[in-house]
Amino acid sequence: MSELHTVNKSPFEKSSFDSCMGHVLEGSAVLLYEDGVYAAMQGTTAEAKVKSAQGVKIYVLGPDLKARGIDAARLIDGVDVVDYAGFVDLTIEHDKVVAWV
């Protein structure tokens, strides 16, 4: 049983990203979108949490990166960019979707 966790708020605004990373299990995935994309950037306090997530794939929504002027080159290594179609695919690839709203 794998889960797709979605986080839509900045880790510097709300604790939903921290809560998510504290609960996510190996084999599951996290999609960062809306202001959640800031957690995928290099050089912030969120970086260590992203990197220490063992066996957890981290995705980020491309259109939301672009809307915030974040270049893909500034993302933490191993984070994959998806579009809305990719978002839909992720919800299907995992057994359930957990929204950390």
Binding site: D35, P63, D83, Y84, F87, V88, I92, V97, A99, V101
Partner: protein
């Protein structure tokens, strides 16, 4: 695959309604079924036909209504959340003695049971909100 969508945030607040719309559109484009879109909490604000954004801005309500019409989507507004926030259809206007309605005809007001049914009937429930 059969999806249902839940929206807990009003239009023009942050981005939840926009994200939900883009997700729903992408799912439909891929040939998936949207069983229901349920507007809950401040999300009920997405259903008022009286919304008038500036001409160069997106009309979030009409965008949902147009997508709903095109794909025959069941756009359901939570009744208790709607009553609190002044979203009114003919039935609610009569029941509560209101002098006007404001819901867009593409939406319908119903109860929380519709959300539970959507969660049971759909293979995925995707929640957008604050």
């Amino acid at each position: 695959m059969k999806f249902s969508i839940q929206i807990n945030e009003g239009p023009y607040q942050h981005q939840a309604s926009d994200s939900a719309y883009m997700f729903t559109k992408a799912a439909l484009d891929k040939g998936h079924e949207i069983f229901r879109v349920f507007f809950y909490h401040d999300g009920v604000g997405n259903s008022t036909r009286l919304t008038t954004p500036p001409q160069d801005d997106r009309n979030i309500v009409n965008r949902w209504a147009d997508l709903g019409k095109e794909h025959d989507l069941d756009l359901v507004v939570c009744v208790a959340a709607a009553q609190r926030r002044g979203i009114v259809d003919d039935g609610e206007a009569e029941r509560n003695g209101k002098d006007a309605t404001n819901i867009h005809p593409q939406f319908r007001i119903s109860g929380l049971g519709q959300l539970i049914e959507a969660a049971v009937q759909s293979e995925r429930l995707v929640v957008f909100g604050d």
